[in-house]
């Protein structure tokens, strides 16, 4: 075995290493074939993923004249952070020249309750569908699944009508409800399917232990589904944080989210386009979900149901 031949772990001096051969834990070579393949692939793929980011960052650090001339790959001759400053705090949209900072807290105020509510509703639905099936539930669920395929622009007007009729048009509550509605199909499916793959015996054990619908959900199912909650959070935080259409259609200007600003900075059809500011603004907007991705990674726990059942 080549592995043995290149063993880095020094054989114990008292014993003839060849006669006895390997001992103890298998050494993990930094440059084993497996590692080279594994990390090689990952790094290559990561490069593909990072290339556009590189272009964005580089562009955001250049001045406009340089961009107009330049090679998109070349590093900035003269690094300027002005586009970042501008994107964050001075870019104008119409009259308001306070950049992305303007909508930041609105975005937070929209995202937090929307994410929580949509995940709460969908996970409970998924749980009910997986573990407490009742007649007819499937039909509603299938309607939801089909609903996942409806381009949501089509729904803008009907929802305007619905919200108007229940008097929530233009309010934050209305928007939170809209986000929950549009998140529901995918999230419900996500949770339902995850809960079905949990060993059913656990659910049974909890019922015997006297826990009811909510008790089982909160104490058994929820802690066991951390990875899927992470996925749900990733989906929703990204979707809602980056949402522009609903945020602007269903609220008032004083509660517009940050993405309205982003859109305004980035999306002007006429007039001069400042690519560097656009890039900076996009990266800035993406930072919040990015941080969430990074932090939530810790919850991707391994072997979450290990030791639960035998068989």
């Amino acid at each position: 075995m080549s592995d043995h031949a290149v063993s880095l772990s020094a054989p114990s001096p008292s014993i003839n290493a060849d006669a006895w051969g390997p001992s103890g834990p298998k050494p993990r070579h930094v440059f084993s074939r497996r590692n080279i393949f594994l990390y090689g692939t990952l790094i290559l793929v990561a490069l593909y993923y990072l290339l556009p980011l590189y272009v964005m960052v580089v562009t955001s650090l250049k001045g406009m004249p340089e961009i107009r001339l330049g090679n998109i790959f070349s590093p900035p001759l003269e690094i300027t952070f002005e586009p970042w400053v501008k994107a964050w705090s001075t870019a104008c949209t119409g009259l308001n020249c306070d950049g992305l900072s303007r909508g930041f807290w609105n975005s937070v105020r929209i995202t937090v309750p929307s994410v929580i509510l949509s995940i709460a509703i969908a996970s409970v639905n998924g749980y009910a569908l997986a573990n407490w099936r009742f007649k007819g539930a499937d039909t509603f669920f299938i309607i939801l699944i089909v609903g996942a395929f409806i381009p949501y622009q089509v729904m803008i007007y009907p929802i305007v009508i619905i919200l108007r009729e229940i008097g929530l048009y233009g309010s934050l509550t209305g928007l939170v409800i809209v986000h929950s509605i549009f998140g529901m199909p995918i999230l419900t499916l996500l949770f339902r399917n995850y809960f079905t793959s949990m060993p059913e015996e656990l659910f049974r054990a909890a019922r015997v232990d006297g826990a009811g619908f909510w008790g089982i959900y909160l104490r058994i199912m929820l802690p066991m589904s951390l990875p899927i909650f992470v996925v749900a959070v990733i989906l929703q935080v990204t979707g809602i944080w980056n949402d522009f259409l609903f945020g602007v259609v269903y609220t008032r200007p004083d509660t517009y989210p940050m993405t309205v600003q982003l859109n305004n900075i980035v999306n002007s059809v006429q007039g001069v386009k400042e690519y560097n500011v656009n890039m900076a603004a996009t990266i800035l907007t993406g930072l919040v979900p990015l941080v969430i991705y990074f932090i939530s990674g810790r919850l991707f726990v391994r072997g979450i149901a290990a030791g639960a059942v035998k068989g």
């Binding site: 060993p199 015996e201 015997v208 006297g210 030791g307 639960a308």
Partner: protein, 367 residues
């Protein structure tokens, strides 16, 4: 009706199908308050399924279930007052052992110190005190099983359902826990339904044993009755290890009934017939347990004796099983370990037909 209020658990005409597979068929079972029932039966006969039905974890196809006189057929498990040990353990993987044990109590709102006390007690019985802060994934198989038992033990319920709770434990621990379970049952006087494959467990723990086969209860009786007077050949063969010896032959009904087979003829005058013997020449099976067979000098005193030769000698630790032939059939008997018999040795064996069982062919019912 009065009779249905008195038993602790009463199962009436219970049927259960998994899709096309019918597992339980119009099963009836009444269990008295405080009784300890052991379910015995071959693997796959429906024992776990029955427990699940009683617990309300499976939607039954037909029939009714009463617990404490109340029809609970459609009640939620949590409203049935049951505790259960699952064959597959079903531990909550994200909780420590302690949390696993206390979960039911916390749900029921038992005070903290009471919980602590009960857990300490259960952990002591089950010898898992050092493991209380571990998660199930860091436990050995037997340790997991003990946690599963503990989770039922700490609860204060009317009916306990135990599904092979000791199968993965070593003999020593098993006998200790057997004693503990017996004591606990004495103290709490709750109803126990207990599935096991260990006959010692069955014999020592049970007030009554239910022997099942293919989803049907074959016999429900006190352990000694089941052991000594099995109602059919299946029950006779299923219980007892080493297994009962069977010899096929005919029943000659004359003045005194006699069983005859290939070269032997056993007088049955001392045998208590359950049913009328019927006509002569009726085919039947004669069964006798290896431990009811005397050999050597002791055999001479027996109402029936025969000569044979040793074929195989199987040492089993405390005893030795000796195989010989009788009536053309393999025939085993048990001798103390120190008796030294060798293959080919001639032996004299004898037994008392009063301790034998006689079964009709082909129905297999006791005669």
């Amino acid at each position: 009706m009065a009779e249905i209020t008195s038993p602790s658990v009463s199962i009436q005409n219970l049927s259960l199908n998994y899709g096309a597979v019918s597992v339980l068929q119009t099963l009836n079972l009444d269990i008295a308050e405080g009784e300890f029932i052991v379910l015995l039966g071959p693997s796959g006969c429906g024992k776990s399924t029955l427990l699940n039905c009683i617990a309300g974890l499976l939607d039954i196809s037909k029939g009714r279930i009463f617990i404490k006189g109340k029809n609970v057929t459609w009640e939620e498990p949590k409203d049935r007052g049951i505790g259960m040990v699952f064959q597959s353990y079903a531990l909550y993987p994200q909780m420590t052992v302690e949390k696993n044990l206390s979960f039911g109590l916390r749900v029921a709102g038992v005070p903290k110190d009471e919980i602590a006390k009960r857990i300490a007690r259960a952990a002591e019985i089950l010898q898992i005190e050092p493991l209380l802060q571990r998660k199930p994934s860091a436990l050995s198989g037997g340790q997991r099983q003990r946690v599963a038992i503990g989770r039922a033990l700490v609860r204060d319920v009317d009916v306990f359902l135990f599904d092979e709770p000791l199968s993965n434990l070593d003999a020593k621990l098993r006998s200790e826990l057997r004693v503990e379970i017996k004591l606990l049952h004495r103290k709490l006087q709750n109803t126990m339904i207990y599935v096991t494959h260990d006959q010692i467990e069955a014999m020592t723990l049970a007030d009554r044993i239910a022997v099942m086969k293919g989803g049907v209860i074959q016999q429900l009786d006190a352990p000694q009755t089941i052991y000594n007077r099995p109602v059919n050949r299946f029950v006779a063969g299923f219980l007892g290890s080493p297994a009962m010896n069977f010899i096929e032959g005919q029943l000659e009904a004359g003045n005194a009934a006699t069983f005859t087979a290939d070269g032997v003829s056993i007088p049955l005058d001392r045998y208590e017939f359950d049913n009328d013997a019927g006509g002569g020449g009726k085919p039947c099976v004669f069964g006798i347990r290896p431990e009811h067979i005397a050999f050597g000098d002791a055999a001479k005193a027996m109402p029936f004796t025969a000569e044979s030769a040793v074929e195989i000698v199987e040492p089993m630790g405390s005893d030795t099983l000796v195989w010989t032939k009788l009536g053309g059939r393999n025939f085993s008997f048990r001798v103390e370990a120190e008796k030294t018999l060798r293959t080919g040795d001639p032996v004299r064996i004898g037994f008392d037909p009063a301790r034998a069982s006689l079964f009709e062919t082909p129905s297999g019912n006791r005669m």
